[in-house]
Symmetry: C2
């Protein structure tokens, strides 16, 4: 069994759906970080069987809406002095701006410059979003 | 401080040059794995200051020559029953086949089909290799 112990300060993104830890890691560009980061994939979990976990030993800006679009099952723990000082539950945001990109070549966001990408939550279970301009439907893609 | 405890069986790639852990992770396609994997980047190290570490809780095929091309500073520990049963030191291989790809469009490996990519070690410190056919010089690139 592989154990990962506590960090003294920073952020732990826990209960990540297996397979999505790497995508969050990539989205946060953690491969370029100069602080300690641990990505654990398929960690044993009592509740879920398997989970991914991301431990970041630094206080970084974290867009919780984006996390909600990628994987709303996660919990975010804020750590100070080796203790959890805040536990944040994530949920998929009702609407997002400049997070996903519409791929419809005829959408006004493709044909016109400077139009802000806007999406609205369509299905909470499916985690699908529709483009506010052309109604094309998407899931999160890095 | 972030501690990562032992694994019961598998492979630990230790003393990875910071920044290269993610490249080895990518090269081994560990994001697609169905067993536990931990990638720690910028872990504190007594010897090196900082290092990357990769813990793989499974026995996977590991091409040690490729590891030697990416980062010959690593050590590979084979774990069984939570103990290191083998410690392998890596060195850059004198020659490699089908590991890197020559990018010279005029090289015979580019113009002819089915020619095996062959490279020879040029500089051990620089970790540079030259194509056996056209003498173009390369470092490892994923």
């Amino acid at each position: 069994m592989l154990y990962i112990d506590s960090i003294s300060k920073g952020i732990v993104i826990d209960h990540i759906t297996p397979g999505l830890g790497f995508r969050i890691f990539e989205y946060l560009k953690l491969d370029k970080s100069d602080f300690t980061v641990a990505l654990i994939i398929n960690a044993p979990s009592k509740k879920e069987g398997r989970k991914d976990v991301l431990k970041i030993e630094n206080n970084i800006d974290l867009d919780l809406r984006v996390l909600g679009v990628i994987d709303p099952t996660v919990t975010v723990n804020i750590i100070r002095d080796e203790k959890i000082v805040e536990k944040i539950k994530i949920s998929p945001p009702e609407s997002v701006e400049d997070v996903m990109k519409c791929k419809n070549p005829r959408c006004v966001t493709s044909t016109e410059k400077g139009v802000i990408q806007k999406f609205s939550l369509l299905d909470k279970e499916e985690l699908s979003y529709k483009c506010d301009y052309c109604d094309n439907i998407y899931n999160w893609e890095v």
